[in-house]
Amino acid sequence: MTTEAADPVDAAAIAPAADAGFLQRWGTEIEYILIPGAALVVALLVFGIFVALFGKNPLDLYWYMYYGAFGTWFSWQNTLSRAAPLILTALCTALPAQLGMVIIGGEGALLIGALSATSAALALQGMPPLVVQVAMVIAGMTGGGLWILLSGGLRQYRGVNETISSLLLVYIALAILNHLVEGVMRDPASLNKPSTREIGAANMIGTIPGTDVHWGLVFGLILAVASYILIYHTTFGFAARVAGGNIRAAKIVGLSVGKLILTVCFLAGACAGLAGMVEVAAVQGRTNANLAVGYGFTGILVAFLARQNPLAIIPVAILLGGINASGGLLQRRLGLPDASVLVLQGIIFISVLASDALYGRIGFLKGKS
């Protein structure tokens, strides 16, 4: 105190200078944490006001959201189970985004992946479970991959907008699924709920030991990290980002943009296809219309909130998983309608997208030069 008081000018001059050095060096990274974090806080405050308008105490709301999502070990498992499919479906949007493509058809790839994985399991009945499971992974990823490859191919060879085509392919995938499940693949015993035959209890992949979270979470984490490495630490990823940044420049330097598009689309679809395989092999045990619950669509939200960064997808998916997990508690304890969770998701989405405008504009994070 005394030194500062004695020499205010120096202290003021030195401290910000040191800060500026630190902030300048890490400014971008700090922005990536600070801005979405602030956007989230703003969204929660807005949602609190919204809830207060309905005569509920916002503090109760925040407590129940925390309690239902992260407050107990059970809540954590609930959150992680719900996050697992979202990580995989978010990658289906985030990978093509590196190329500047907006793919929103992860739901279709998930359904086709589930259908392919189920077909593989049903074809290999009687084989050792490990063989069946590996075949399901390969079939699920290939099926989903080929599905998004269709969008990539349509874009590359026919100039069809990939956003529209991938979205429309979702409805085709759902129609194919319903057609097969209610037709040739139907288990005659599934009277009032048309479904395929079960893949068999032995072929289920089960849960991570000590938890009741299924292995889909681990698959998601591995693929998210692998995607991050692929995009930021390989020449392939670099090429993809160059093409995404400026497609003409990429062509001029001799990059095979078409090959990049097709490969990335296949990988993206494979991630969503794996999500479908996991839903079959860890949750439902067979394919039926229950698979189409919108994991693919929520994945789009996750990818955009994560700014298409595969690593950021992990915490964002857990956040959304937590919001969904606590939604039940909000209904039961506060008497809020189910739609309130959707309202919150919408507010977060808008808030984070709007905060995009702040990048590079926060004064104290900018360098002096």
Binding site: L59, D60, W63, Y64, Y67, G68, T72, F74, S75, N78, S81, R82, N178, E182, G183, L191, N192, K193, P194, H214, E279, V283, Q284, G285, N288, A289, N290, L291, V293, N324, A325, G328, L329, Q331, R332, P337, D338
Partner: protein
């Protein structure tokens, strides 16, 4: 904010109830305040399937010593497992009603096996010996009420053309279409029922299209079997057609057009279940019944229902409530001319053959596939 204390108290209560319940059957579990959880697949004010269950839950709320918790819009995935566990772990629920068909297998079965001391009651599932003993399935023979509604519709229709907006060609739906048609032909032997399948349980746009297209073809009385009859009822009433309802009483939506309807009577059944448990009796694992057993009911007649229609309908209703009445009896032909029930055969409500129904009776215009 003392949520911790509240939830802990509930947990302790639940735990104490469990231990006692284990020692002396389920009786003590219902001695203190009991928490009962209801899970709905859609919105609980849908004027349909979910609202019928919510009305049952509301009837339980009026009983002393019961705490009813509800969660809506829970998909038929592991989300319902998590909701069940959340109700058990965070709210101390000891009796659960996951009410949607797709919750049964594998989700509710898995939870019943995991929590063997709690009671699970499912609507519509087919409980079999290999399923856990603490799980049960109940369902009502609502085709009895559809048969009565058919009689009323047959008398009211001037064109003799009736319309049926249906979700999927599964046994439960086909049985309603057939019962409705047989009832109508009791009143008017020349009556026909044109059926349109929308393909899924909640497809408001397709339901509206189907309603309009049926009326365009000369249909003047409509009914339906979808999750939310609201769309059909409101659109038909707007076009000047009459309707018979389904799931719950939709007369508030169309007071003039509403003739009668086939309703669930869960507000009678659920208190009965709770009283059985409180008295130390066990609920039969496979619980079925119709009008007589008060699982289903017929809506009060609307003003447009003629005197002969009321008389005939009441007469048949009295038979259902009295010595019994068989809807599906030979000789019965399907709409392709094949005999499906031979002369002299009576298929009573509990006949397992009826659970596998895959035909439309003579007089129905439409196909199952």
């Amino acid at each position: 904010m003392d949520f911790g204390r509240i939830s802990r108290r509930h947990l302790l209560q639940g735990g104490a109830a469990l231990t006692l319940g284990a020692a002396a059957g389920l009786r003590p579990a219902f001695a203190a305040e009991t928490t009962i959880g209801f899970i709905y697949v859609g919105s609980r004010d849908d004027y349909g399937y979910n609202q019928a269950h919510a009305q049952g839950a509301a009837a339980l709320k009026k009983l002393p010593g019961l705490k009813v918790i509800e969660e809506e819009k829970v998909p038929e995935t592991d989300a319902v497992e998590k909701t069940i566990e959340s109700m058990i772990n965070l709210d101390g629920a000891t009796l659960l009603f996951p009410t949607s068909f797709g919750y049964y297998n594998p989700h509710m079965i898995k939870m019943a096996a995991k929590y063997p001391k709690l009671r699970f009651e499912h609507c519509g599932g087919l409980w079999s010996e290999k399923d856990p003993k603490n799980a049960g399935s109940y369902f009502g023979y609502i085709d009895e009420a559809q048969y009565i509604a058919g009689i009323v519709a047959g008398y009211t229709s001037k064109s003799g053309k009736l319309g049926f907006v249906a979700a999927k060609p599964i046994p439960q739906v086909l049985r309603n279409i057939n019962a409705f048609t047989l009832g109508a032909r009791l009143a008017n032997p020349k009556a026909t029922t044109q059926v349109i399948f929308t393909g899924d349980w909640s497809m408001p746009v397709k339901e509206a299209e189907a309603t309009n297209s049926l009326i365009d073809q000369g249909v003047d009385v409509l009914t339906c079997h979808v999750d939310g009859p609201k769309t059909m009822v409101e659109n038909a009433a707007r076009r000047g057609a009459f309707v018979t309802g389904y799931h719950v009483n939709q007369s508030p939506l169309a007071p003039k057009a509403y003739l009668t309807g086939a309703e669930w009577n869960w507000e009678a059944l659920y208190p009965k279940f709770v009283k059985m448990l409180a008295a130390g009796e066990s609920i039969p694992n496979f619980y079925r019944g119709g009008l007589k057993e008060e699982l289903v009911k017929v809506s009060p007649y609307g003003e447009a229902v003629s005197e002969p229609a009321r008389k005939h309908a009441d007469e048949i209703k009295a038979k259902f409530l009295g010595d019994g009445y068989t809807i599906f009896k030979g000789p019965l032909k399907d709409n392709k001319g094949n005999t499906v029930i031979t002369a002299g055969t009576e298929r009573g409500q509990k006949d397992p053959e009826l659970e596998k129904m895959d035909y439309l009776v003579e007089g129905v215009i439409g196909a199952t596939s």
